[in-house]
């Protein structure tokens, strides 16, 4: 699917500290306007709730989880985080076009593993991350980043445990990356 060329290509990324300042200012503006921080996993949750509601409306209404997010006057997709996440996609596309990183469909993986291995790991990783984000009341954006910045103890807890466990697991899955 992709060939690893010998040439070392270093893409133009912005300085990470500059990126961090921009992200911090954006988060501050988001707090100032909305009273809440940024988020990402919430949009997928809305998609799940919306899909289940369409396919099995009775099941969705009876469920103690789905029913928390179902309202009679609008679809679960009519949600702040859904619009924000559509924006994340558009913003990513804009930056990708600007810096020349939007290319044909491809799988990025370490030369030591195949595309297939990468795809399986990515799928499993997504499942675990999605499941964990529900228990964690948010992912790295909603809980760890926004929570910690707003002095939430839970946010700090998610940040420390998420990254900390990442370092523990990193050893066992190093073949995927290095």
């Amino acid at each position: 699917m992709d060939t690893v060329s010998k040439e070392k290509s270093i893409p133009k990324y912005i300085n990470p500290y500059f990126g961090g300042v921009l992200l911090g200012l954006l988060l501050l503006v988001t707090f100032y306007i909305t009273g809440r921080g940024l988020g990402a996993s919430g949009a997928v949750k809305s998609a799940v709730v919306s899909t289940v509601e369409k396919i099995a409306p009775v099941h969705a209404e009876e469920s103690t989880y789905y029913s928390k997010f179902i309202s009679t006057d609008h679809s679960p997709m009519f949600n702040w985080l859904v619009f924000e996440s559509i924006g994340v996609f558009i913003g990513g596309l804009l930056s990708g076009v600007l810096f020349g990183r939007v290319k044909k469909l491809r799988v990025e993986h370490s030369p030591k593993i195949t595309s297939k291995t990468r795809i399986i790991a990515a799928g499993l990783g997504g499942i675990l991350f999605g499941f964990g984000s529900q228990l964690g009341r948010g992912c790295s954006s909603g809980a760890a980043l926004s929570g910690t910045a707003a002095f939430s103890f839970g946010g700090l807890l998610v940040m420390v445990v998420l990254f900390g466990s990442g370092y523990v697991f990193a050893y066992f899955f190093r073949k995927l990356w290095i």
Partner: protein, 209 residues
């Protein structure tokens, strides 16, 4: 309290300063800025992201900690200047057991998948199939959780500390905590810079895509 004429008190939407019809326009614009910053910082590449766990690229740590520092101090400053009411800012509630297990699962998902939810959307935007599969996995994982919810409910709501702040738990003021956080961040930036220099001598240069 109609004293505020010069500055508009925030947060704007909870205080009714912005008509609610603008909510989704604002959400979209904030999202665009968020996605742009994530992609431009290099988070559309999983190999770039996971460098933080193997020492060859600490960009995630740099962006993340800098953002927390800026937003945290900004909130304190806005609060001090009377531009924002910190009491109206949403505090993510704490459920110890559920959040610890959830974060461990997210940590494992992070190292397997190489993305987190927000970064995977930007990966999709530039054409990464692995990012699409990761996002599909998110959908499946959240679906699984929702279906298993009856069995998980007591665990999910157990060990609640409510909207506990760092001050509630550790007894240190927001100002002191942010000061400590900045000091830790600076030390982390320096140490990881040293580690990165060493690791890059031994790890083969990797190609970004």
């Amino acid at each position: 309290m109609d004293l505020i004429n010069t500055t508009i008190m925030g947060p704007l939407i909870p205080l009714g300063q912005i008509a609610s019809g603008w909510d989704f326009v604002i959400a979209l614009l904030i999202g665009i800025a968020f996605g742009f910053i994530l992609e431009a910082s290099g988070f559309s590449s999983s190999r770039n992201i996971t460098g933080v766990f193997y020492g060859y690229n600490f960009v995630v740590l740099r962006v993340f900690l800098t953002a927390v520092v800026v937003a945290m101090i900004g909130l304190l400053y806005f609060n001090y200047m009377g531009w924002i009411d910190l009491n109206l800012i949403y505090v993510v509630p704490t459920y110890i057991n559920s959040m610890v297990i959830g974060s461990v699962l997210m940590g494992l998902g992070f190292i397997l998948g190489g993305f987190c939810p927000g970064t995977s959307y930007t990966g999709i935007a530039i054409g990464k199939i692995d990012a699409m599969v990761f996002t599909g996995g998110l959908f499946l994982g959240i679906f699984l959780f929702s279906e298993l919810f009856p069995a998980l409910e007591s665990f999910y709501y157990g060990d609640s500390l409510g909207s506990a702040t760092i001050e509630d738990v550790f007894g240190i003021s927001n100002e002191k905590f942010s000061f400590i956080f900045v000091i830790i961040a600076i030390i982390v930036f320096y140490v990881t810079w040293l580690i990165e220099k060493r690791v890059r001598k031994t790890v083969n240069p990797y190609k970004f895509e």
